[in-house]
């Protein structure tokens, strides 16, 4: 059981060492695209209030519609995240089959995408519920898209639950969660594409598919908002994967130290 707790101790040790011998070549520079993420997102926040005009036909003289610059990218990312998670899960299984190696990196990427999917799904649900409360007069209407995003949230949650239940065996956890990600693609697809179309919805369906329906001042903010949120997604995912790799490395180191101690 000692191996479970040792990485924490190890981490502190490592930080102590790292401050001691920080050579110039390891100095940290802010990557350009990360700075750009900060800039574009700031532009979107300012633009949502001062570039876009109040939308016609929305509550509070159109002011309420400004939330769509945050709600729509979150909702789109919450379904894109599943594709990313599925892609890496499938790649993990294919590599496992053909090369007989353990491609943990793909497992981490898949898990990170799923975690972020859960996060963005939650954000989309919250912003959507606020918007619905102002626009439709009730915070929850059982609109098909509302239903499907909640079930999507449950799907993500059960993926994370499956991972948590097998956390003591990383190899088994990787395989099982990859299989779940592959099989649950079917309900996820139905939730993203079919359910909002089979049942009658109150959501406008042409905002993204038909550019003529959206005014120029909205496009000028909405499209950068997508770029900003996608960049943020990539950044968060990269951080999460790196964190998992560091964690694994520490676990490995700690195990080795313990083995040498016993000898």
């Amino acid at each position: 059981m000692a191996t479970l707790h040792s990485p924490v101790v190890n981490k502190e040790d490592n930080q102590k060492i790292s401050t001691e011998r920080l050579t110039p070549q390891t100095a940290y520079h802010v990557p350009l695209w990360k700075a750009l993420t900060g800039l574009i997102m700031s532009y979107v926040i300012v633009g949502a209030f001062f570039i876009a005009h109040g939308a016609i036909g929305f509550a509070e003289k159109g002011v309420a519609a400004r939330i769509i610059f945050f709600h729509v990218p979150c909702a789109v990312l919450s379904s894109i995240a599943y594709f990313v998670g599925f892609f890496y899960a499938a790649r993990y299984l294919l590599k496992l089959k053909s090369e007989k190696i353990k491609p943990f990196l793909d497992d981490y990427r898949s898990a990170a995408a799923m975690e972020l999917g859960f996060l963005f799904c939650l954000l989309a649900t919250i912003t959507g519920s606020i918007f619905a409360g102002v626009q439709w007069g009730s915070f929850w209407n059982w609109d098909p898209r509302e239903t499907s995003i909640v079930v999507m949230l449950l799907l993500y949650a059960s993926y994370l639950l499956l991972r948590a239940a097998n956390s003591l065996k990383p190899e088994l956890r990787a395989r099982l969660s990859a299989v779940y990600a592959v099989v649950a693609l079917v309900p996820a697809q139905f939730l993203i594409w079919a359910v909002p179309r089979i049942l009658a919805t109150m959501h406008p369906t042409t905002t993204l598919t038909d550019p003529r329906m959206t005014s120029l001042s909205y496009k000028m903010v909405l499209y950068p908002a997508f770029i900003a949120f996608v960049l943020l997604f990539i950044w968060l995912m990269q951080l999460r994967v790196r964190m998992m790799m560091l964690w694994e490395q520490h676990r490995h180191n700690a195990q080795q130290t313990m083995e040498t101690d016993y000898r």
């Binding site: 930080q15 011998r21 802010v30 900060g38 997102m41 926040i45 949502a48 209030f49 968060l236």
Partner: protein, 45 residues
């Protein structure tokens, strides 16, 4: 208060939250950068 000022105040909330998040992420990025470099140093020794 004019409509514009109210908009300004409401805008300040997400802007402050975003700046906080942005610099928090940068700090994590930097800390992880250090740890990663340190790890590579450990391996070579």
């Amino acid at each position: 208060m004019t409509h514009r000022m109210i908009l300004m105040l409401v805008m300040a909330v997400p802007l402050v939250v975003w700046f906080g998040l942005f610099f928090y992420l940068l700090i994590i990025d930097r800390a992880m950068h250090r740890l990663e470099n340190n790890q590579e140093g450990n391996d070579s020794i």
